[in-house]
Amino acid sequence: MTTPIIKLESVSKRFVKKLDIAEKFARRLGASVQEHTVHAVDSVDMEIMPGEVVGLVGESGCGKSTLGRCVAGIHRPSDGVIRYQGEDVMKLRGKKLLESQLNVQMIFQDPMSSLNPRLKVTDIISEAPLFHGLIKRGEVDDYVAMTMQRVGLDPSYSQRYPHQFSGGQRQRIGIARALAVRPDFIVCDEAVAALDVSIQAQVLNLFMDLREDLGLTYLFISHDLGVVEHLSDRVVIMYLGRVVETARTEELFDSPNHPYTQALLAEAPRLQTDRRVYAPIKGEIPSPLHPPKGCHFNPRCPHAMDRCRTEAPKLKEIAPGRASACHLNDG
């Protein structure tokens, strides 16, 4: 059995707003002031095999971007272990740490703010490889030209600034910047959400071509079910910081198991001629500051039982390669 390229073991990320002096003092006097803790990611387990494309789906604010940033090494998880090719990245030091950092790259949602507006394209792409000694100063022009061609950009644009490009081209520059350090794993955080549909298709095709050419593995974060269905081998559904279901793409879209997944898929807009009435999931997504007890989905779930309000369901395998976190599967 091959080692997963990325393995998450009960990874949590909490953001704590510490009390300031006045609040500490007030609490000492008996006021009910408490530290605010956001459980952005709540003990998530996940395995991603080399060459796989995993789609990570969820509503806004469910922690999928935070999870992506933990994987990419931008955030340190509060708890849990992230293993890159079997090794705990928190315990890596020196050259191995650098290697693991460079091998996991990230592509961001906003193609405008993800590029430093004061650097030329050639500097954006070549900075990290030069800094880490992957290329020499004399090779910059060739390397940049090669990387730009690989992502479908005209190398003659290398002396321009990001604001002189269109959205799709900027996203390509972001991809080129990530590819320049020769990664084998890429986290795409809503990488096409800010682009219009025709450009989305081109960029998605570019992702797939790069996967074939360079043997990349993707964690593809999106709220767009259509994109995920088109792209991924496996889908992970997140709700309020927890993974609720994971399955192969076809299986998940054919027969969703978790009530949340079912609701999501039912409401996905499709090109269908029949006039169907959309029944939106009832209620708002609860605040991650005060998540509901038990199963996070219970206030909105049509099948909620008493048990759901007290006990959080564990992610259990319900079929080979398929897991869901719902008490209904026990009964």
């Binding site: 703010s113 004061r118 950009l153």
Partner: protein, 431 residues
């Protein structure tokens, strides 16, 4: 497949292919010149800066060189002139009345006359002699006091001019000297001497005090030029260091956050809650006066503005994804701060800096006006205003008003430029 599918997009924007990239600096410059007022401000500011830099070369006088300053020229109104000392000569003329004769008179080299010839002859009888003193060119146009003839022989009288009522000299018009007779009650049988005193009233014009002079006889124009030099230098230097300190601390606060940020920003709050002039006054009371101490005080009261601005900008920039991307690429912390964060934080800081230079100049002028700023040996504009203040009520407005006008123009020019720069650098106002 890749090339075929993705090529169209790069070719999709033909306008971008043709249009030459406009560097941000050029765009900002274009934006800047759209406001005529700001251009006027910029031109005035450049002139002021050039004047300040080249003051020693273009100022009519070095106002600090005591040997160039004459106390008798003090408090002269604008347009008055500085003269050389007037020409004067005390000539001793020797006449032998027994024979006719002529002598050429030796004149000092600065005399406005090429030659002077005295000729005489006996005028019938031994008690009178006719004389002619001819100046070439004639002295008629030369501004001077009436000529004095003195030490005439005992009992002698002239047929021209007037004798002083009780003293021995005669006053004579220069034209009358061309032919006059000296007659005596005694026989003129000995050679005798007499004295001729010529006193000019005006010297040559050395310079014009265009803006008048101050209480010590300094040319105000020169004093203002040198004062601008001091004021601008103090303002710019103190602002520069305040910017370096404020920028570093603000960026550190924004980047590292936590306790360090709290500490720095609470100090900033504390400092900004006091009026700047009060803090500066206290500091100078402790430090004493002197250029470097004034600069130090200005730096201490100004860094907080820069720190606050730098932190707020850096916080915004830090949250942008390109900083996360740089972290993801495992670039070093210093590199992220200096190459990615800092250049993107600079535009608002530049605007604050221009405005703060104007503030620093005004603050320094205030401190000098109050007498605790710069020492008298290096007067800034504030000190000049303060020096002239006591003369205001006696109508000698120029000593105080002109430095004040210079200060006003400088500050307005800097503010006009700073204001426009703020608009030009503000991306939200970009069309």
């Amino acid at each position: 497949m890749s090339d075929v599918e993705t090529a169209p997009e790069s070719a999709m924007l033909p306008d971008q292919k043709v249009a030459k990239p406009v560097p941000p600096a050029v765009r900002i410059a274009r934006d800047f010149v759209e406001s005529p007022l700001a251009v006027v401000g910029l031109v005035v500011l450049l002139v002021i800066i050039l004047v300040a830099i080249f003051a020693p070369l273009i100022a009519p006088q070095n106002p600090y060189d005591l040997s160039e300053i004459r106390l008798e020229d003090s408090r002269q109104p604008p347009g008055s002139q500085r003269m050389t000392a007037p020409w004067e000569a005390d000539l001793v003329l020797s006449v032998d009345p027994r024979t006719a004769g002529r002598t050429e008179i030796d004149l000092p080299p600065e005399a406005p006359v090429d030659s002077a010839v005295l000729s005489w002859s006996a005028a019938g009888g031994a008690d009178a002699v006719t004389m002619a003193l001819i100046f070439d060119p004639p002295l008629d146009d030369f501004p001077m006091e009436p000529l004095r003839l003195d030490d005439l022989p005992r009992g002698a009288e002239l047929d021209v001019g007037e004798k002083h009522s009780f003293r021995s000299f005669w006053t004579v018009e220069p034209a009358d000297l061309e032919s006059f007779t000296l007659s005596s009650s005694r026989a003129l049988d000995q050679p005798f001497d007499f004295e001729l005193a010529i006193r000019g009233t005006e010297g040559e014009v050395l310079m014009t005090y265009l803006l008048g002079t101050d209480g010590q006889g300094r040319d105000m124009l020169s004093a203002i030029m040198y004062g601008l030099r001091t004021s601008l230098a103090v303002g710019v230097v103190s602002c520069f260091f305040a910017m370096i300190i404020g920028l570093s601390l603000g960026m550190i606060a924004a980047f590292f956050g936590g306790r360090l940020e709290n500490l720095i920003m609470r100090i900033v709050d504390l400092q900004l809650s006091f009026p700047t002039i009060l803090v500066a006054l206290m500091l100078l009371a402790i430090l004493g006066s002197g250029v470097e101490k004034v600069m130090l005080a200005l730096i201490i009261v100004q860094w907080a503005y820069f720190a606050r601005t730098a932190r707020s900008v850096a916080l915004v920039e830090r949250g942008k994804e390109y900083v996360e991307a740089a972290q993801c690429l495992a670039l070093s912390r210093t590199r992220v701060i200096f190459r990615h964060l800092l250049p993107n934080c600079l535009p608002p800081i530049i605007v604050v800096a221009t405005v703060q230079v104007a503030n620093a100049i005004a603050l320094e002028a205030t401190l000098s006006f109050l007498g605790i700023g710069l020492p008298v040996t290096e007067p800034s504009l504030g000190l000049l205003i303060s020096n002239g203040f006591e003369f205001m009520l006696s109508g000698r407005y120029w000593i105080s008003v002109y430095p004040g006008v210079a200060l006003l123009i400088t500050i307005i020019a800097i503010n006009l430029v700073g204001d426009r720069l703020r608009d030009a650098l503000n991306p939200r106002l970009l069309r």
